[in-house]
């Protein structure tokens, strides 16, 4: 077959005949168009940037959350076997939420108090980022719990045996409201999800943890669902705390 030369003009294309597939022109593959469509400035479609960040007056419904949470647990339970595996998965699921909650709550604090935003914030309530460990713990115990559940956590304790362990106690975790644990899995505490949120907050604030875990509180008759969240901070965090305490004297 003679090679086609470029100087000869192309023969006129045959008339389109859709029964004969040879005559249907095939367009060359178009360049890949990005599949995301951004609303043009002319359209009035709302983007996520149009929504307000301040707290909506009505809270989200608990049954809606419980349904979603139930599905989440079922999904992870089907994928994994052991109790600790499910707890790890729930923990991982809550982690990115913690990271985002930290910035959201700090933004709400800052927007509500423009005076304390850039000025010297002395207390943890009006000031901005938590820089010391105690401030961070109070932030988690108060602001984070109120932002998530509408009430403060019940207790904040420091472990007597280890210096880098702290405990936050919740008498009745809201996430466990509609969850019943079968007897063969009695170790499982679905508040591991909340533990993941707390871990995300601590890590994002710069206080790396080795893990935040949720444990049942034993022997508590009044609150059968009492849960203790154990926060274990890393070595370098404790060293930095020591350094700041020695150098700044609490400043």
């Amino acid at each position: 077959m003679p090679a086609a030369t470029t100087t000869t003009a192309a023969p006129p294309p045959p008339p389109l005949d859709f029964k004969n597939s040879d005559t249907i022109p095939v367009l060359p593959p178009s360049k890949h168009q990005p599949s995301l469509r951004y609303p043009s400035s002319g359209s009035h479609r709302k983007t996520i940037y149009d929504r307000s960040l301040s707290r909506p007056p009505s809270a989200t419904s608990l049954p809606a959350f419980a349904y979603l949470f139930n599905t989440l647990i079922t999904y992870h339970h089907a994928k994994s076997g052991s109790v600790s595996d499910i707890e790890t998965r729930l923990n991982r699921a809550g982690y990115p939420i913690g990271v985002k909650m930290l910035d959201l709550l700090l933004y709400r604090q800052a927007a509500a108090a423009p005076g304390g935003f850039g000025g010297a914030g002395k207390s943890g309530a009006s000031g901005a980022r938590p820089t010391r460990l105690l401030e961070l713990l109070q932030f988690v115990h108060g602001t984070l719990w109120r932002g998530l559940f509408g009430r403060q956590a019940d207790a904040l304790e420091q472990s007597t045996t280890k210096k880098n362990e702290y405990m936050i106690v919740d008498n009745e975790p809201v996430v466990n409201t509609y969850v019943t644990i079968p007897r063969e899995m009695s170790q499982l505490n679905c508040a591991a999800f909340v533990a993941g949120v707390v871990e995300g907050v601590c890590d994002a604030a710069g206080f790396g943890t080795e893990g935040v875990s949720a444990h049942w509180a034993e022997g508590e008759e009044m609150w059968p669902g009492k849960t203790i969240f154990l926060l274990r901070f890393r070595e370098e965090v404790m060293e930095r705390e020591e350094g700041l305490k020695a150098g700044g004297g609490g400043g």
Binding site: A111, G119, G121, A128, R129
Partner: protein, 176 residues
Amino acid sequence: MSYYFTIIGTRDNPLFEVEFGTSKVGGDGIAHFRDEAKHMNQFIVHAALDIVEEIQWTNKDMYLKRIDSYQNNHVHCFLTGGNVKFMLLMNPDPMATTYSAYSTSPPSRPSTARQSTTLLAASPNSQATEEAVRAFMLEVYEHWVKCIMNPFYQVNQVVTSPVFQNRVGTAAKKYL
């Protein structure tokens, strides 16, 4: 008067950067950096990150004000709760800034009648400048929080949304 704004993630990786000029009286909204400024701006901003890390544990505020100056470039920083840094580099007279090692900068040309003396960087330490930059940073922070609330946005991912870029541009026109 030109600005270079960048968002730097927790691993010192840039997530977003934009250049613009002032839209106030006398400006046209477009940055007028020299050619070498393309990489020198990044260099100056990243060198200022060390200063941010030093002071972030003793300073509880989120807006850290002006933290560094280099040859007429002033760097302002804002630190979010998640340890993400918004850095704004401002240069009142980019054409006069040489980046050579010999730091004898040429005498800056007197302000022409076109540029008024109400330029922000003309007095970088003034309260008005700090207030303007703080207001700008707060507005960008609001858009930033909305951006990261996206469940599909992972930590330290590059921000590619043109809507975010438009919002930053609008905030810049409003305050800077």
